[in-house]
Amino acid sequence: MSKLGNLGARLYRGEVGYDFIGKRKIWYGISILITITAIVGLAVRGLNMGIEFSGGAVFTTPKTSVSTTEAQHHAESAAPGHQAMVQQLGGGALRIQISGLDTKQSLPVQEEIAKDLKVPVKDVNTQLVGPSWGEQIADKAWLGLGIFMVLVVLYLAIAFEWRMAVAALVALVHDLTITVGVYALVGFEVTPGTVIGLLTILGYSLYDTVVVFDSLKEASKDITKQTRFTYSEVANRSINGTLVRSINTTVVALLPVAGLLFVGGGVLGAGMLNDISLALFVGLAAGAYSSIFIATPLVADLKNGEPQMKALAKRVAAKRASAAAKEAARQADPDAAEDGDDDAGAAVVGPQPTARNRGGRGRPSGRRR
């Protein structure tokens, strides 16, 4: 902890730090690669839509002593590649729903099920069912998402600035694409649970990005009034300053979901949990990653295109050149050093704005009494 605490302190002061902005091209590249893989996976394999979306066949069996779990195994082996949902009806009958079957395909499945459950084929009633997640629900969900996107971009543009709104949106699309792509690649069936999982990701991705942007906004408040740092540098220090928070939050958010995915779905074999927790796990990880590696560097890129920031970068470069000259001069004449140092100290901005008025008051805390 002592080491971690010190690391936190040094990150906070910018003494150590990873150059997120400087190495952004690498991370952009990695993200583009993952996103393309996801899109290709989506295009090639497509999504395996569950019975709630695509409809399917429903088999109603007479009273049987076979348990729902066994029946589910039977049904899934009778219709390979499709997911079955088994419910017991009052009176001991079973209702077995299998996604993606049409009339022709359902006939052999009916025979197979009858054989497995040891009931006469003619007593198994087969009918096709429509999707319970109808077009109307889907249409309204898209409409809701559209309205939300417009509002959230407006909100971010007002509360922050349009560049951050754009970057947040890019990060969001990035997260959702990766999650959906992983789904296509793994081949899990898409259920309403998946959709809810995706919506949760949508909320979390934006939430996490906003937390990081909030610190960036604070750090870059008076950026044009100083000449010590360029926007990229301030952004980089801001990411590093909130890195501890980002790591902690991600760990705390991911641990329970990882439990669901690996212990619940993997070891204990709760199949239905898999599809939801996979979406959540991939999405949460992508959401935390994109806030730091994609969204913030993107803001810096957009910002650096601004004339003001270009001018700032020029001033900073000039200042550094003159500082370097002074440094050279100092080596010749040590007395001249104070001037330059003092100037820099007064102009501190960004990651440590409170440093300004600390001069005389600072003392080791906890040593007071």
């Binding site: 936190g8 909320g203 939050t249 705390v252 600072g362």
Partner: protein, 583 residues
């Protein structure tokens, strides 16, 4: 919205951290008490987790519409049923079509099956038709003299209300029904009908030939004479017949309680012209629960035209009938053109029935009528072992979170865990209480959503803790650090939670079904996050900052300045600290 409210409360919590904490504890105790009082100790579970009841509905052949049972109509019907049983999207009911003419409706355990049956089985075909003539509901001819008419007024369930309404002045914005019924009922009392023509008609009414019958075809007159609304069976039959009639044709119909029968003209305003309908408690005129309808702009115009025409006619042809699934539920008289764009239905509603009718009218009529074929219980689609595996896995994950927080934050982890605990208790009790209140049911995706909410709740105080630690690193002592770190952490928390809340609000308003249910859960957990951080975590930190253990930065407090790497008062780089400028 939430931000402003919480922002105001914050200073108070700074002043009296103890009081705020006690307030939160009282709220928790009240919620837990309420949970025990209501007798529901666990949240209602969705069909996937707990099973429920399954209805199979069969579409009925529509007389005069041979191809009515088709895919489009079945899908529309399923969509409307879905919205009716899943009003707020939180009940986790499922509706799907089966075969070519069946619809399956699954409702989770603990839902009122009788109410659900009514919600999905009612067609809710609404129509406004002008009254051509009316009379007592029993089979005519009955040589009833005029006194029977006054008796009629008393019999009607709404008759008693007429006295209270008589004094109501007819304002154009007031509802059509209220005005109409008031005067109608008054007119039916012989003493209250001063105009000659009005008193004339009621006396002539019960006897065929039908009064004002010039524009009523003879076949219909015969039908009207034969119509019997008095027995339950004949009433149902009559309703069915009237419901099947074409909108453009005149029709005979019964009052829903069987006390009155009518010949009604072609439909003037249709149910599709109703934009929105809701249950309102009318305390002003003592009508109890009524259903208030807002028309679309087109519907409002039609309604104004129809009422304008009716107002010029004589009793009873200045009445219009509100017909629901073939039965007349209300027959107000019109005295002037009504431009208000709204109307109400009154009479004998309970809160429940008024709300149900309001829902049905807002969601629209089913394009087909259905009969319930089969009703059976269904077990959970997810086996019990899956739920158990999920719970065990979740518990392991949570234990890891606890270990991580303790390892990293040490003493501060107490605050974190207490906050998570408070948040968990609040979420659990509120979700449990929402079960009986609005039919809230928890399904597996919602459980997973709640697990993700742990991360978002934890983030709020992680942000705060990091701010406090940053302040300590700047060389502050704990108490100022706790207060100075708060405004900055508060802004971050509000700005980011607002995004989540925006998502929840928009999705809740716009969407239907499970997405709406998700939005509800998201909004609830986001609000609780803000409540817990503002009213619990912050006051608790303020209190703890006064304890020596934390204040002196005990190595186990998680706030030890040396371990956090707090800066010594003099910066290393400075050669001459006296020259520091105060910026």
């Amino acid at each position: 919205m939430a931000a402003a409210k919480k922002g105001r409360r914050a200073p108070a919590s700074q002043g009296h951290p103890g009081r705020t904490l006690i307030l939160v504890l009282i709220a928790m105790a009240a919620l837990v008490g309420g949970m025990f009082y209501s007798g529901t100790l666990t949240p209602r579970l969705g069909i996937d987790l707990a099973g429920g009841t399954s209805f199979t509905l069969a579409a009925q052949n529509q007389p005069g519409r041979p191809n009515a049972i088709n895919e489009t109509n079945m899908n529309t019907a399923a969509g409307i049923m879905e919205r009716r049983v899943n009003g707020l999207g939180v009940t986790e009911s499922e509706v799907q079509t089966q075969g070519s003419n069946h619809i399956i409706v699954n409702i989770p355990k603990g839902t009122d099956a009788k109410q659900a049956r009514q919600q999905v089985g009612t067609t809710a075909q609404l129509a406004f038709r002008p009254v051509l003539t009316t009379g007592p509901g029993a089979k005519a001819p009955e040589p009833t003299p005029s006194p029977s008419q006054s008796g009629k007024g008393g019999e009607k369930s709404t008759g008693g209300k007429s006295g209270a309404q008589q004094s109501a002045s007819p304002t154009p914005s007031a509802s059509a029904t209220t005005q109409g019924r008031a005067v109608t009922d008054a007119l039916k009392k012989p003493s209250a009908s001063p105009s000659g023509s009005a008193s004339d008609k009621p006396s002539a009414q019960p006897t065929p030939p039908v009064p004002g019958g010039a524009d009523i075809p003879p076949a219909l007159q015969k039908q009207y004479a034969a119509l019997d609304c008095s027995s339950k069976k004949s009433l149902a039959q009559a309703n069915e017949q009237a419901a099947g009639a074409k909108p453009g044709d005149p029709v005979v119909a019964c009052k829903d309680d069987g006390t009155q029968k009518y010949v009604l003209g072609p439909v003037g305003v249709e149910g599709t012209d109703v934009k929105d309908a809701k249950a309102v408690f009318d305390s002003q005129q003592g009508q109890g629960w009524i259903v208030q309808m807002d028309f679309t702009s087109d519907g409002g115009k039609k309604f104004a035209d129809v009422t304008g025409k009716l107002a010029t006619k004589a009793q009873p042809q200045n009445q219009f009938a509100i017909v629901l699934d073939g039965a007349v539920v209300s027959d107000p008289r019109v005295s002037e053109r009504l431009n208000g764009g709204n109307a109400t239905i009154s009479g004998g509603f309970t809160q429940q029935s008024a709300e149900d009718l309001g829902n049905m009218l807002s969601y629209g009529a089913l394009p087909l009528s259905f009969k319930i074929d089969d009703e059976t219980t269904v077990t959970a689609a997810l086996g019990g072992e899956q739920l158990r595996a999920g719970l065990i896995a979740g518990a392991i994950g949570l234990a890891l979170v606890v270990i991580y927080l303790v390892a990293y934050y040490r003493g501060l982890a107490l605050v974190a865990l207490a906050s998570l605990g408070v948040s968990a208790v609040l979420t659990y009790t509120i979700m449990t209480l929402l079960g009986p209140a609005i039919g809230f049911a928890l399904n597996l995706p919602a459980v997973c959503g709640a697990i993700v909410a742990i991360g978002i709740t934890a983030d709020s105080f992680i942000v705060y803790f990091e701010r406090i630690r940053d302040e300590i690193r700047e060389g502050r002592t704990l108490r100022p650090a706790v207060e100075r770190g708060w405004p900055r952490a508060r802004r971050t928390i509000l700005v980011s939670d607002f995004v989540s809340f925006l998502a929840a609000a928009v999705l809740f308003i716009v969407t239907v079904g499970k997405v709406q249910g998700f939005a509800f859960t998201l909004g609830l957990t986001t609000l609780l996050d803000v409540v817990v951080v503002f009213l619990f975590t912050k006051p608790l930190m303020t209190l703890l900052a006064r304890r020596t253990f934390f204040h002196d930065g005990h190595p186990w407090s998680g706030l030890d300045p040396r371990r956090l790497g707090a800066r010594p008062p003099l910066r290393r780089r400075r050669t001459a600290p006296t020259q520091t400028k105060e910026a």
